[in-house]
Symmetry: C2
Subunit: 501 residues, 2 copies
C-alpha cells in the first residue's frame, strides 16, 4: 500500500515512551481518519527504507502542522530519523506469532518453534506493550511446564548474540535478587578469575532497584563493552564484570522484563528462561544460583525457594547446564551501602581487606565463590569457601580486580554523594527487623541509581542494641531536592523501615 497519499514529513517532538514505539499524527490527518484510532491502532511506518510497527497517538493541538508526523524517541532512534525525513505509512498485517500467544491463552502447549516465532517478533519490537503483557500473563500460570521453559530458553538463546570460549568449563553465578546491597559479584569474579577459571560475567542495570551490578561496577570502571572487548578482557584476565544490555545476549528478555516489572509479577518460567538463556549465550557450563529467602526479599519462604531450585535444576539438565543452588538468608540487606557508589565502597573494603570491612558481604561472596570452586572441581566438597577466603586474604583477588578494571578501561574510585543526612535511633532498643523494600525506596528517592553517589549507608544490622541517638543509617544525595524528597518519605514510614524492639 505505498501510495503517495500515505506519506508525511517528520518533525521531532522528543516524547520518550520507553520501549514501545509510538507515532504521532494530527487528528484531522487523512491517514489517521482512515486507520481509525479508537482501538490502540498499530501501523507499519517506514523511514529511509527501515520499517517498524508503531502505536498511533493523535495530536489535538498545533504541535504538528498539516502534513507532519512525529515519532517517540525510541522509534526515532531505531529508524535513525532526521528532521523533515519522509515517513511512509502502511497497513499492519497482524503480527503472525500472536496466534501462538492466543493459543497459549486458551490453555494449549507451545513448542520450540512457536517460541522461536514469538521471541523473534518480540526482539524486533513488533509487539505492543499490551501484547507483551498478554504473552507474559499467558505464560505465568502453572500451566507452563518444564518443556515449555526449555523451549522459551532455547528461543531466547537462538535470537541473541553468543560467546564461545573453547574451554571445557566456563562458570557463572546469578542471584535471584530482591536484597538491597548484596553486591557479591565483583568479589566473586575476582576470586574465581584469580583461581584460574573463566567467568565471563554480564550483569544488568537497575530497573526498579536502587542499583544493579552494572551500575555499581560503573562507578569503578567502564562496563559498556562490545562483544569483541569482552573476548579480549576475559581472554587476558579470565573474567569480566560488564553490562549485559550492551551486548544483547537476550534482546527479547530485555523487553519482556520491563513489562513484568510493570505487572509486578515474577513468573517462574520467564525468570528461569531469562537467567539461563543469558548464561548459555555467555558460553557458561557451570552456574551457581543464589536464592536469598526473607519476608521482604523476592523469595519469601523456604518452600518457594525449594520449588524454584527444582525448576532451575530440571531445566538446567535439559539444556546441558550444571547448576548448583544456594538458599541463603534474605532477611536484611547484605553489606552496608545501598546505591551504586556506596555498594562499590563496600566491595572495595572487602577486596582491600580494609579495617571494618562488611563481614556479611565477605562471608556471602566467599560462600558463592566457594561453591563455584567446588562445582568446577577446583576444591573438594565442603572446602570451597575456605579456599575462596585464601584468595581474598592473600590479596590476589584485589590484584585480579584491579587487572580486570584496567582491562575494561581503567579503575576509578567511587564517590559517595556530597549531601548527607544521618538518621538516629529515636529510643534505645534492639533492631528486630529491617524492611528491604522500604529501605530500597529511601535510596531510590535520594537519587539512586541515576545519581551514582546517592543511596543509604547502614550503620547497624538486625540483632544489634542501640542507645537513643545512636546512628542507624545515613542518607546520601547529590542534590538538596532529592535529599528532602527521601526525608519526607522516611518521616512518613520511619517505624516500618527499621523496627526497634
Amino acid at each position: 500500500m505505498h501510495h503517495t497519499s500515505n506519506t508525511l514529513k517528520l518533525k521531532h517532538l522528543g516524547i520518550d515512551t520507553q520501549q514501545e514505539y509510538f507515532v504521532y499524527m494530527r487528528s484531522d490527518c487523512h491517514i489517521c481518519i482512515s486507520e481509525g484510532f479508537e482501538a490502540l491502532t498499530r501501523l507499519e511506518v517506514t523511514v529511509k527504507g527501515r520499517t517498524i510497527i508503531a502505536t498511533l497517538n493523535v495530536l489535538r493541538s498545533d504541535l504538528l502542522q498539516a502534513g507532519e508526523a512525529s515519532l517517540s524517541e525510541s522509534a526515532w532512534k531505531v529508524l535513525q530519523a532526521e528532521e523533515s525525513d519522509t515517513i511512509i505509512f502502511g497497513h499492519l498485517e497482524p503480527v503472525r506469532s500472536m496466534s501462538h500467544v492466543r493459543a497459549k491463552m486458551y490453555g494449549n502447549r507451545l513448542d520450540e518453534e512457536a517460541f522461536m516465532d514469538i521471541i523473534s517478533d518480540v526482539s524486533e519490537g513488533k509487539y505492543s506493550n499490551v501484547e507483551l503483557a498478554a504473552f507474559i500473563t499467558a505464560c505465568a500460570s502453572n500451566n507452563f511446564n518444564a518443556t515449555e521453559i526449555v523451549g522459551l530458553t532455547k528461543a531466547m538463546v537462538a535470537i541473541g548474540a553468543k560467546l564461545d570460549w573453547e574451554q571445557k568449563i566456563v562458570v557463572d553465578k546469578h542471584c535471584v535478587g530482591g536484597l538491597p546491597g548484596n553486591r557479591t559479584t565483583p568479589i566473586v569474579v575476582s576470586i574465581i578469575a584469580a583461581a584460574g577459571l573463566t567467568i565471563p560475567k554480564t550483569s544488568s542495570r537497575a530497573i526498579t532497584s536502587p542499583a544493579g551490578t552494572a551500575d555499581t561496577m560503573e562507578t569503578m570502571a567502564p562496563v559498556d563493552l562490545s562483544l569483541e572487548e569482552i573476548r579480549r578482557v576475559v581472554g587476558q584476565e579470565g573474567g569480566c564484570i560488564v553490562w549485559g544490555g550492551a551486548v544483547k545476549l537476550s534482546p527479547a528478555d530485555d523487553i519482556l522484563i520491563k513489562i513484568e516489572k510493570a505487572l509486578d509479577i515474577d513468573s517462574t518460567g520467564q525468570m528461569i528462561a531469562s537467567v539461563l538463556s543469558k548464561k548459555i549465550a555467555a558460553g557458561s557450563t557451570h552456574v551457581v544460583i543464589d536464592i536469598p529467602v526473607g519476608k521482604t526479599a523476592k523469595v519469601r519462604s523456604q518452600e518457594e525457594a525449594k520449588k524454584l531450585e527444582f525448576c532451575f535444576r530440571t531445566v538446567g539438565r535439559k539444556i546441558g547446564l550444571a547448576i548448583k543452588v544456594l538458599i541463603t538468608d534474605g532477611s536484611q540487606p547484605v553489606g552496608r551501602g545501598i546505591g551504586p557508589a556506596l555498594e562499590a565502597l563496600d566491595v572495595l573494603a572487602v577486596l582491600r581487606q580494609e579495617k571494618n570491612f562488611p563481614k556479611d558481604l565477605a562471608e556471602r561472596a566467599t560462600l558463592i565463590a566457594g561453591s563455584i570452586l567446588e562445582i568446577a572441581g577446583k576444591a573438594s566438597t565442603g572446602e570451597g569457601q575456605a579456599k575462596a577466603l585464601e584468595y581474598l586474604n592473600a590479596g590476589v583477588a584485589w590484584k585480579k580486580f584491579k587487572a580486570i578494571c584496567a582491562a575494561q578501561g581503567g579503575f576509578r574510585e567511587p564517590k559517595a554523594g556530597r549531601l548527607q543526612y544521618e538518621v538516629k535511633a529515636p529510643t534505645k532498643g534492639r533492631i528486630v527487623e529491617i524492611d528491604n523494600r522500604r529501605l530500597a525506596k529511601v535510596a531510590k528517592l535520594s537519587g539512586a541509581p541515576s545519581r551514582l553517589g546517592a543511596g543509604v549507608l547502614l550503620h547497624s544490622k538486625t540483632g544489634q542494641f542501640l542507645k537513643k541517638g545512636d546512628p542507624m543509617f545515613t542518607i546520601f544525595a547529590e542534590t538538596p531536592g532529592e535529599l528532602s524528597y527521601s526525608i519526607v518519605y522516611l518521616e512518613k514510614e520511619f517505624n516500618e523501615i527499621i523496627r526497634l524492639g
Copy 2:
C-alpha cells in the same frame, strides 16, 4: 506525600492517548528523576482536588519549560484541567485489586468480591493498559468457569447505572456480530414496541467495524440520551434505540473491550459478562441472542456456536435472565449497505416497504422479532415471525419507528456520501463467496464510521450470476482522499473480496 516540591504547572499539549491516562514531564525534572521512568512508572496526580493514576512519559525537548508538566487528553478532560493549573504528584500505592489478577494468572479461582474490587478499580481508570491486558488474558482461558462469569457479570452490573421499568417482562436482543450490514435492531425495536412490549435498547458505536447500531441510528435521530430521557422515551413509546456508552450501564466493560480488540481476542467469558451485564442493567428479563455463523464472521462453526449458546443459557439461568439463542447464516453481509447512512437507508427501505427493499434484512429482523414475541408470550411457538411480519406490512412498525425518533429528538433522512465509485464484474460468473472482513475494510477506508455517508453498497449477493461489467458494489465517500485510499486497497485485494466462480 504532599510536599511543595511535588507540584508543577500544567501546560496543554493535546496528545490523545485514548483511554489510558498519561502525564508528561521533562527528563530533567526532579520528580521524574526520583520516580524513575524505566519501568512504565505510574503516578498519582491531583489537579484541583481530583486525583487519578497516570503513566509517565518523558519529554526530551522544549515542549515543556522547567516547572511545567502536561496530561494526555483523556486525563486533562477527566480532571477538568485548565492551562497553568497546579498539578500535584504523589507516590502510587500499588492498585490493590491487581493481587486478584495475579492470583488468577497463577490459576486460582476468583469470587464475586474479587471481581467487584477489580471492576471497581477498572471503572475508575486505575488500571494501565498493560494491567488490563493481564486481566483479560488471565480470564481468557478455559480455566474461567461459569461461576466466575456470573461473578464478573454481577460486578459489572453493580458498578454501572441501572434502569427499572416496574414491569414483569422487559425484552432485549443482542447480535454476537462480525457481519457487516445486518442492521436489524431499529426494525426489531419498532416491531416489538408496536406489539406493546417494553424494549429499552442500548447499542454500541463501532470500535473496529464500519458502523455500530448507534452510529447508524444517529444518521436518523439523536442517540446520545441521558438515563432520564431514556426513561421518558421508553415510558412513552415502549422502546428506544440509543447509544449505551452515554449512560454508562457498564463503564468497566467500555474500557476492557478496547484492549480485547487490540489483542484481537474474544474471550467467551468476558463477552458473555459484557453482553448480559448490560441487559440486566437496562432492566431486561427476556433476551434473544443472534449468533451468525460463517467463515469470515465472528463465530466460524456450528460447534463453536453451540458451545456459546450453552454458556449464554447457563449464565443467564444463574443471573435470572430468560435467554433464547438463534444460530443464523453469517456467510455474507445482511442487507446492502455497509456504513452508517447506507445501513440506515436499508432500514428505512424495509420499514417503509419500499420497492426493492433488502429481503434478507427484513427476513432476519422478523426472525428475531418473532422469537422475542414468542419468549414474551405474545405469539405461540412457531408463529412469531409471521406475526412480526404483520406489524411490518401493516405499517405500524414504521409508524412506531417515527414516533421513537420524534421522542429521541426528531427524525432526519440519512444521506449517502457524495462521491461514488462503482465496481463492475471483471468477467462473467456466479458469486461464490464474499469476504465479510475485507469488505468491511473497504468501507472503513472510505471513511466509515466517522464519515457518516461513507461505506459500501452491495448490488449482488452470493449465488447471483453476473455478466461482465455488471455492477457488483459501489463505494461511497465524502472526500477524494478517502475514496482513493479505499480504491488502492480494493485493487490490491480485489480477488479476495468477492470470488466469482
